[in-house]
Symmetry: C2
Subunit: 232 residues, 2 copies
Amino acid sequence: TIVEQLTHFFNQRGALVGRRVLITAGPTQEPIDPVRYISNHSTGKMGYAIARAFAMAGADVTLVSGPTALPLPHPAVRRVPVRSAAEMFRATEAEFEQADLLILNAAVADYTPAHPAHQKIKKKEAEFSLELTKTVDIAATLGARKRPGQLMMGFALETENEQENALGKLQRKNLDWIVLNSLRDAGAGFGHDTNKITVMDRGGNVRVFDLKTKEEVAEDLLTLVKEKLANP
Amino acid sequence: TIVEQLTHFFNQRGALVGRRVLITAGPTQEPIDPVRYISNHSTGKMGYAIARAFAMAGADVTLVSGPTALPLPHPAVRRVPVRSAAEMFRATEAEFEQADLLILNAAVADYTPAHPAHQKIKKKEAEFSLELTKTVDIAATLGARKRPGQLMMGFALETENEQENALGKLQRKNLDWIVLNSLRDAGAGFGHDTNKITVMDRGGNVRVFDLKTKEEVAEDLLTLVKEKLANP
């Protein structure tokens, strides 16, 4: 819309102008055979709201997106559609060098079928074992290659020992922030239009936010990034 | 819409009036843990088009639907939303006795995780085996209970030995028709707005249809049913 174009234009002097922001969003689909796959309940709404907020703030946004039904969040966003965890890794890695900030919001499959079938698997045995292998950990792999000045925000969805697990991820993956979503909070997480987050950073700060719309959560994350850019 | 209501009203004297038609549509989602699941690429479009065509023809339609993004296909359709294969079986079985015609179009998972986890599975081992068990075969189970005068239409999606496999299903599951979708035909099957079908019946008739919109395919299936009702 004209408003979006104008807002983008007038934000050309903002803190995010000229910053290349790489965002991943949505689920991945891991093929079992030509018709079946493993996926998860991510809708991509949170990542798309973040992409929109950063684009509105003048950033140069690339959105690597798993399969979703969502429209492009902002005309200035460049979307790279992917399906599997392997495709998401390749697309994200390809954009990594140029990115000033990575926001890894996608719910990437941790495991993928080891031997996807080229034909539809016929139903015979009463039971069978699907062999799965670990996918590339995108955050850990790129976190290890992070250059000075490059910032990374990761997301964690935990159902047990939430803060402890999330903090472990922050350190292990060399992230600057980890955003914790809890499945325990009513109205938060997959499929909802609202979210309740806790953000931890490398300095040991823990910020607990209220339940908000995903658009408001995206604004809060944008504010955190702006603060960090102002005080590196 | 008013047109739909009127069409439904004026079809009250048609061949389908007073006929209770039970249709299944869409994929199923089989939980691995609270966030992950196994599913398939069915969108539900074909089953929803069939539900609409039969409702327009005056039938009393119940639509047992797996997770889809589709709106109710017709105001006179009663939709029963389900998620897993087990839920789809229970919902379909509950409606089975009253149904005059069953159209089993859903892409029901053949296998489901044997031990779905109550907590999100943590990523540790490099590989793991997901134990799967066979789900209830809805068509075979209900086909075995079919009463005289009750009609059943099944669907088959084959990637190999298509007609032979489909005909085997027709006989084994005690169906009256089997509708074969081929993944090999361009523009046919999951996610497309068009479909190319071959219909086989118990009399040994094989009818090959052209590539058509799913709405047109639904009309063809309605015609086959009307013919059968006129010449039982």
